[in-house]
């Protein structure tokens, strides 16, 4: 663990900030450190974490995707109609459908990015608009409430107390985190994704097949968008066409807060998790402290700005700079 934190300075720092925040909130509000509050915090963050680890893979590969939240809404609708067509389905069918539709949408992004060599932000802004327009047009803005029972039924996975339990989305989150970690850390594909994001030209010269890398990254993002969409329905028990708009930026901010680099090559699953939690706990804390909800976004924006500007500062270098100004010497 110590080794891990040595090479993952950002995560260590984030963990320290998070710990400080938890200590502060526990002291400031009696209802913070309760099983009920923590369970609801986790349940409400699970979807963002699922999306965050999907987005992480895209960021590592040097791309960006802002279409995934809308894609998740599209998955919810298409999945609903597909499930109705097979007579309602169950969790297994739901996961297969949602995952497949999500991967298909991701593949469209990848095909556009790799095939036409357009930068990912432009492509995903376009698919964001196209998907959202399509969704609003096709649904005429109507929400769906009459959903299969299995989909909306609350399933408790771990009981934490009388009125507190971690629900199914948290289990899905854990699976998403573990499989993403496995993909990016333990497989050669994952390491090639890092290399491709870190130094695309170097990766190409070393024989990394770049087009498949794009499909894997955006396909994984699509898979997570789909699963996240499926799980979000389980929490809110309805499908609303524009419910997820704006979440892409919250998730993006959390992932970057967690140490992933826009531009590629850096980022971890743990960082994503901590990034999402930091935002969620800040928001939860403000809520418990009775701060106006109108101030939430502002405070969270400032937190992210502070964290990101500080993450660029090498604290060790800053300290030596103060003690002595001889930092110019050659290495060795």
């Amino acid at each position: 663990m110590r080794d891990y934190l040595r090479t993952h300075e950002g995560e260590a720092r984030l963990l320290a900030v998070l710990a400080g925040l938890v200590v502060f909130l526990s002291a400031a509000s009696p209802s913070f450190l309760t099983a009920a509050n923590l369970a609801s915090l986790m349940n409400n963050s699970a979807i963002n974490v699922i999306w965050a680890v999907g987005l992480l893979v895209v960021l590592i590969s040097g791309g960006i995707d802002i279409s995934f939240a809308v894609a998740a809404s599209v998955v919810q609708y298409l999945c609903f109609y597909a499930l109705m067509a097979v007579g309602g389905g169950d969790w297994l069918v739901g996961v297969v459908f949602a995952g497949a539709i999500g991967v298909a949408i991701g593949a469209v992004n990848a095909a556009l990015i790799a095939g036409f060599r357009i930068i990912s932000i432009v492509v995903t802004i376009a698919t964001f608009n196209a998907l959202f327009g399509l969704l609003m047009f096709a649904t005429a803005g109507r929400s769906l409430y009459d959903l299969p029972n299995w989909w909306t039924e609350r399933i408790e996975v771990v009981r934490l107390g009388d009125h507190a339990a971690l629900a199914l989305p948290v289990a899905a989150m854990a699976v998403a985190m573990a499989s993403t970690w496995f993909l990016i850390s333990r497989t050669t594909i994952g390491r090639q994704l890092y290399a491709f994001g870190d130094n695309p030209e170097g990766a190409r010269r070393a024989g990394v097949a770049t087009t498949p890398m794009q499909f894997i990254a955006y396909g994984w993002m699509g898979l997570m968008a789909g699963i996240g969409g499926l799980m979000q329905v389980n929490i809110v028990q309805e499908i609303v066409p524009n419910a997820l708009i704006g979440r892409e930026l919250d998730v993006l901010a959390a992932v970057v807060l967690g140490g992933a680099r826009l531009g590629g090559g850096r980022g971890t699953v743990l960082g994503c998790f901590l990034g999402v939690l930091l935002v969620a706990i800040t928001q939860n804390g403000l809520n418990l402290l009775g701060v106006s909800p109108y101030a939430f976004k502002m405070v969270i924006g400032l937190t992210i700005l502070a964290a990101i500007s500080l993450s660029g500062v090498d604290l060790a270098a800053l300290a030596t700079a103060k003690s002595g100004r001889r930092k110019l010497g050659r290495p060795d």
């Binding site: 050669t188 170097g202 990394v208 090559g265 930092k327 110019l328 010497g329 290495p331």
Partner: protein, 506 residues
């Protein structure tokens, strides 16, 4: 095709590579013209030539990146090939360590070295195996690196070693090193040369490309010299002096004369006192006098460009004073500096100095848009044409039409456009950051003459150069910068080039 070459024993004795009649043409320019290139197994071979002589093109042909024109003979370890792809070249044992190293800064040292074992389809990463591969490659080099550290934590010299280890880990038997010592100190260079000798002794052939001829001659056994895309010849390093090698590369008798004159009495145009900026330069004192050319040399990373950026108002010093014509000034940005009469020609002409896609005319007038505009702010065509014509004639720029894209010009002529653009601002002080990088030898002379002429018109010039000889022959004084400090102030008339070079590259 001779059948004998497929004979096993003959193949064993064959050189590492043998290339004949290699020609490559890019858009009408003959980059290589019927060149032969042969490297023996385990040999340290020098590939020498000025910028634009075809060295990089030849490396890329051997590495399978470029395909030569039909009729070329290509042979790796006794096996002739008709078409060579990068993959095939790699399989035959050719590795190129590009100047930019092509490593992955965010990944660990072990992963970088064993990267070939990560490429390809989906497999589990065997960290243990990767570590072993990296360890054994480093053991062959006789060096020790922290395998678990992220590569970007390593100083550049050690990254270089990681790049070499990576080539070894992929079973390279012929390694090209493109300017491997460009950013190394002498101690690091010595270590690298030792590594090169170790490799050579173990049967790995090395092709060394470097502009530091002394070290090239020290380590190589033979040199292949290219000039303007043609083979000048292959020479034994033993009988070759630096001067002779330079003559072979440039095709000129070297009658470079020191042009230094004394300016102690002239008024200082731009001077700085105790100028420091944390992490970049420290306690710098210098004065550029009217009409004087001051050379500034040092290793990459010594802080020369950083100092230039401050003089040009792009960064602010932490402390110290900058004076222009005796008055203290503080530039808020480079527009202030331009207005005050400081001009800066960037070292990266391609990316920063010129807008490549735009026309020659547009590039020439970009610093003078206000002066060629009328009262309403619209650009006057007549004034623009006059300004362009003046720039083109003054600096004898060879152009087709002013409306042609600047990218159609040769390196030397592009550099003239950059100079003309800045001269149009009538600068009092001109900072030239490596003005002859990528400019071929003939055109360099023209640039040096322009520099001299500008100085004679009273402009104070700071000539930053990677090549000590360039500053030695073309400046009135040579300042040596190391680790952010000015550590030497030399008069070319009272120091020898060799002494100056050994001081700088030490």
């Amino acid at each position: 095709m001779p059948v004998a070459e497929h004979d096993e024993s003959a193949a064993d004795a064959a050189p590492a590579i043998r290339f004949d009649r290699v020609s490559v043409t890019f858009g009408g320019v003959r980059a290589l013209d019927g060149v032969s290139f042969e490297v023996d197994r385990g040999e340290v071979h020098c590939l020498a030539g000025e910028n634009g002589s075809g060295k990089s093109t030849l490396i890329k042909v051997v590495a399978g990146v470029y395909r030569p024109e039909p009729g070329a003979h290509m042979e790796y370890f006794g096996r002739p090939e008709t078409t060579v792809t990068p993959q095939l070249a790699r399989r035959r044992g050719v590795a190129v360590i590009w100047q930019d190293l092509a490593l992955f800064p965010e990944m660990t040292v072990a992963e970088n070295i064993a990267f070939d074992h990560l490429v390809g389809g989906m497999r589990l990463v065997e960290h243990g195996a990767i570590r072993k591969i990296a360890e054994s490659a480093l053991a062959r080099l006789g060096v020790d690196l922290d395998l678990g550290a992220r590569l970007n934590k390593l100083p550049i010299a050690r990254r270089q070693l990681a790049a070499i280890a990576r080539a070894l880990a992929s079973d390279a038997k012929l390694i090209f090193m493109d300017e491997p010592t460009a950013s190394l100190t002498q101690a690091e260079t010595d270590m690298l040369l030792d590594v090169v000798r170790t490799l050579s002794a173990s049967g790995v052939a090395i092709v060394f490309v470097s502009h530091r001829l002394a070290e090239v001659l020290e380590v190589s056994s033979r040199a292949t010299v290219l000039r303007d895309g043609r083979l000048v010849g292959v020479f034994e390093a033993a009988g070759l002096s630096q001067t002779r090698l330079t003559e072979l590369m440039t095709g000129k008798q070297f009658d470079q004369r020191i042009s230094a004159r004394s300016f102690a009495a002239a008024p200082a145009v731009l001077s700085v006192e105790d100028l420091s900026r944390h992490g970049e330069y420290e306690g710098v004192n210098l004065a550029l006098r009217a009409g004087e050319v001051v050379g500034l040399v040092g290793l990459i990373g010594a802080g020369r460009t950083e100092l230039a950026h401050t003089l040009f108002g792009m960064t602010r010093p932490d402390r110290g004073a900058i004076r222009l014509n005796g008055r203290n000034i503080a530039f808020r940005n480079n527009r202030d500096a331009i207005a005050a009469g400081v001009a800066y020609v960037s070292e990266d002409r391609l990316a920063l100095g010129l807008v490549q896609q735009q026309s020659i005319a547009d590039n020439l007038v970009i610093t003078r848009l206000r002066a060629i505009s009328n009262a309403a702010g619209a650009i006057s065509r007549a004034k623009k044409a006059a300004a362009v014509a003046k720039g083109v004639t003054d600096l004898a720029i060879k152009i087709g039409r002013p409306a042609d894209a600047v990218s159609t010009l040769s390196g030397g002529n592009q550099q003239r456009v950059v100079l003309a653009k800045w001269l149009a601002t009538s600068p009092k002080a001109l900072i030239l950051d490596c003005p002859t990088v990528g400019v071929d030898v003939g055109a360099r002379d023209g640039i040096y003459r322009i520099i001299r002429r500008l100085a004679e018109s009273g402009i104070a010039i700071l000539l930053i150069s990677d090549e000590v000889s360039e500053a030695f022959f073309n400046a009135d004084r040579v300042l040596h910068m190391a680790a952010g400090r000015i550590v030497g102030d030399y008069d070319p008339r009272s120091v020898s080039l060799a002494d100056l070079e050994s001081a700088v590259y030490a």
